[in-house]
């Protein structure tokens, strides 16, 4: 079931004005239709015309993700939570979280955390994908939702994820997540964790 979490400011870079973004827990038919009709054609086109390197600079390494399949696989399971950000009547961001993972970080090893399975902002919000990306703050809002869920679940704000190379810097430099290096069990993608103290700092 979908629930409205709240209304948050998103910066429209094109107008330099803040606009209201709606955060929802649970994906609905509209989110999936927006993905199919508006996100997917752009991502598919980019994927078709780009080399691996070009996909990296276009922030489009998730071009093969199918959110409809993710919803079908995870939407009915207690372990997972989907989130969506909407603005201007359009889905601007999507995320799926897993609540059954444990920390690998020394000092909190084995502690439960919220694992970010997938997180994506709409293609038109991405630097590199188009000349003038639209909304700023969609990814940050979704990460805040992951941290918030972690607190609600009594996981003290701990979250983790495997980052696509295009996003590594953002997780490390902007969010201050701890880089535990490439994970040989997960396509060698770098594994990141956010400890409780950093989560608290980010949510203050």
């Amino acid at each position: 079931m979908r629930s409205h979490i709240g209304t948050y400011d998103l910066l429209n870079r094109l107008t330099t004005k803040f606009e209201e973004g709606q955060l929802y827990q649970g994906l609905n038919e509209k989110n999936l239709t927006d993905f199919e009709l508006h996100w997917k054609p752009l991502l598919a086109q980019k994927r078709q015309r780009s080399t691996r390197e070009e996909l990296l600079t276009a922030n489009a390494q998730d071009a093969h993700w199918d959110w409809v399949r993710k919803e079908l696989a995870w939407g009915h399971l207690l372990a997972y939570e989907g989130f969506a950000v909407e603005a201007e009547g359009m889905t601007q961001g999507l995320m799926y979280l897993n609540k059954t993972r444990f920390s690998r970080l020394a000092g909190q090893l084995g502690a439960p955390l919220v694992y970010v399975e997938s997180l994506a902002s709409a293609p038109w919000n991405r630097h590199g994908f188009i000349g003038k990306p639209k909304y700023k703050g969609v990814g940050q809002l979704l990460i805040q939702a992951a941290i918030s869920l972690s607190f609600t679940e009594e996981f003290k704000g701990r979250i983790s994820l495997h980052a696509l190379p295009q996003s590594e810097n953002w997780y490390r430099e902007v969010l201050g997540m701890i880089d535990l290096g490439p994970d040989p069990d997960y396509k060698n993608l770098k594994y990141f964790e956010m400890a409780s103290d950093q989560a608290l700092r980010l949510t203050r």
């Binding site: 399971l77 207690l78 372990a79 059954t100 439960p112 609600t152 009594e154």
Partner: protein, 70 residues
Amino acid sequence: MAGKRTMTLNLTEGEMRVLEELSIQKDISKTAVLRQSLRLYQLMQIRLSRGEKLFFESGETKEKSELMVI
């Protein structure tokens, strides 16, 4: 989060002891332990119902051992 319902749970002393131990180890309430258990049990049940098997792998030796679940 969806609306919550309350139920009374009868556990043996041993079951309660394990629940309390897990609650302390994981630093979450007993309710949160039970929620986690339910999530994991559902995941496991779905995978097993597809005919898949559940394994644990040793981090050091990479040796796999099947967890027998009926």
